[in-house]
Amino acid sequence: MRVMAIVVRIIRQFFRDKRTLALMIVAPMFILLLMDLVFNGEQYKPAIAVSEHVPDMVVDKLKEAGAKVKELSEQQAREQLDDQDIDAWLEMNGSAPHVTLEGSDPTANQAVMAAVQQAFQSMAPKPPFQLKTTYWHGSSDMASFDYFGPVLIGFFVFFFVFLIAGVSFLRERTNGTLERLMATPLRRWEMVAGYMIGFGLFTTIQASLISWFAIDGLDMMMEGSFGYVLLITFLLAMTALALGMLLSAFANNELQMMQFIPLVVVPQVFFSGLFNLDTMEEWLRSLSVIMPLTYGADALRDIMVRGKGFSAIAVDVYVLLGFTLLFMVLNVVALKKYRKL
């Protein structure tokens, strides 16, 4: 079968091009690892200077709350704030505490405020009741990486497949082999199908390895079934594959293919749930409807964070399938540029 001829050829080419093969698999893992290191790092320890009037008890409590504390005169404190050696300066005017923040780093600000508040709160009389918290999903030791993670897995699979599929198909256009193939009885749909299957085999391996690395290697939160994660990453990869092929029709060289990244890939990151969109204008938010990554990220989060089953991700699965089919059909149409038949 002619489709199989293309599949075999793509596989052979892949094994010749070890670097691309590595890029598809190792690069996403490497970036996930970096993300993990950045987001899962130790909590920030604020450096707080105190004036001599601050009671020892407060200093002890601040230390308990994780702050690095030292005693400084007002003059020294001002200088060190200026040099960013300390994050805050705490003084007591009578019984009222006063904090001066260095102020340029929100993370440091928050850490100082949390420590100070915790220190003074623990000295106040205990409230008559304590709030009990139950997690419907997630847990108290869930890191922000656990929340970003599913989106990131989806994104990296999408991004690398999009890029490599786009460039491969573009190369087929620019080095004349596509045109040459159009002089054979190969049908346009057979061309598209061959590419989808050939690349599909690789993206399956790629998606599995990335998911496995994130979940087992980086110990990302995983409540649901690994099979569903594979299903979604596979569908995302197929969508990216078909979209990359399609857009390569509108690029004349590799550089122009890269130009699609800020246009097509980056906006999806913003809209796919990595950032909370609730504060955005309604009409702008509705843009996410046309972005494949929205559905992939949503489904992955449902599976990995909320541990849901197929009924929760069914819509996402169908939409991703729909995107893939749509892009495949458009590809078959776009090949008319090379041969009318």
């Binding site: 001829a5 050829r9 004349g176 082999t177 045109e179 002089a183 041969r339």
Partner: protein
């Protein structure tokens, strides 16, 4: 073989937007001949052979190849095409390139192996068959492209500038090869802008600015134009002299 000529071009025009690239061209190519399309680059030779090969569609007029109106996938199975640029997969070996195109044409198993071995021997690449194509010289790539175009034993072979950028010795051997293929009954259409190559064709069509300005045997054309060489004949028909 049918009584009709294997290639019939009738009043064919091709426009890209407003630009007329082929203007009302009619010609027949007879069975078992080498038909040369001669003209400067930009004359429309490539566009014409692409339409004959079924890759492009005529804006007006009809093209019949082996009895079928082009473009037609059935007829394309019986056409061999060699493009101007070598359309090969550089990271694959010559053998793998041939296996790929052979399967596209539906050749498989023992038959495929036989054809590949024969064609590799024909273009003298048997010893280099396991080298990746990006290590090939320009001439080797051209020969491999020719071998690929011949894999499925086409009845009609279309070659777009097969000898461009090839050294004279190799050019000689390619033409000798074409002559052998012709003798086995294959109809060959070849484009060229090299005047002395045109002498080797059975018949010639001279193309200038999308128009067919003359058709005939090389000696016929020279006689008709009262010219010593094909180049002079081309100038005469093109209206540069007289």
């Amino acid at each position: 073989m049918s009584v009709h000529p294997p290639i019939q071009v009738e009043r064919v025009s091709k426009r890209f937007g407003k630009k007329v690239v082929i203007d009302d061209v009619s010609l027949d190519v007879r069975a078992g001949e080498i038909f040369g399309l001669l003209g400067p680059s930009g004359a429309g030779k490539t566009t014409l052979v692409r339409m004959i090969a079924g890759i492009d569609q005529a804006s007006e007029g009809t093209i019949r190849v082996l009895g079928a109106n082009m473009p037609n996938l059935g007829a394309m199975k019986r056409i061999g095409f060699m493009a101007q640029s070598d359309a090969l997969y550089g990271e694959l070996t010559a053998l793998e390139n041939m296996q790929f195109f052979a399967s596209i044409y539906g050749l498989r198993g023992k038959k495929q192996k036989e054809r590949i071995d024969d064609m590799l021997a024909l273009v003298n690449l048997t010893d280099d068959r396991k080298k990746p194509v990006h290590q090939y010289s320009g001439g080797m790539k051209r020969r491999l492209s020719l071998a690929i175009a011949l894999l499925h034993e086409p009845d009609v072979l279309i070659l777009d500038e097969p000898t461009v950028g090839i050294d004279p010795v190799l050019r000689q051997s390619i033409w000798a090869e074409l002559e052998r293929i012709r003798q086995r009954g294959t109809t060959i259409v070849v484009t060229t802008h090299v005047m002395d190559e045109a002498e080797k064709c059975g018949r010639l069509g001279m193309i200038r600015e999308g128009r067919l300005i003359a058709v005939g045997r090389p000696d016929e054309l020279k006689q008709k134009a009262g010219a010593e060489t094909i180049e002079q004949a081309f100038l005469t028909f093109g209206g540069a002299r007289r």
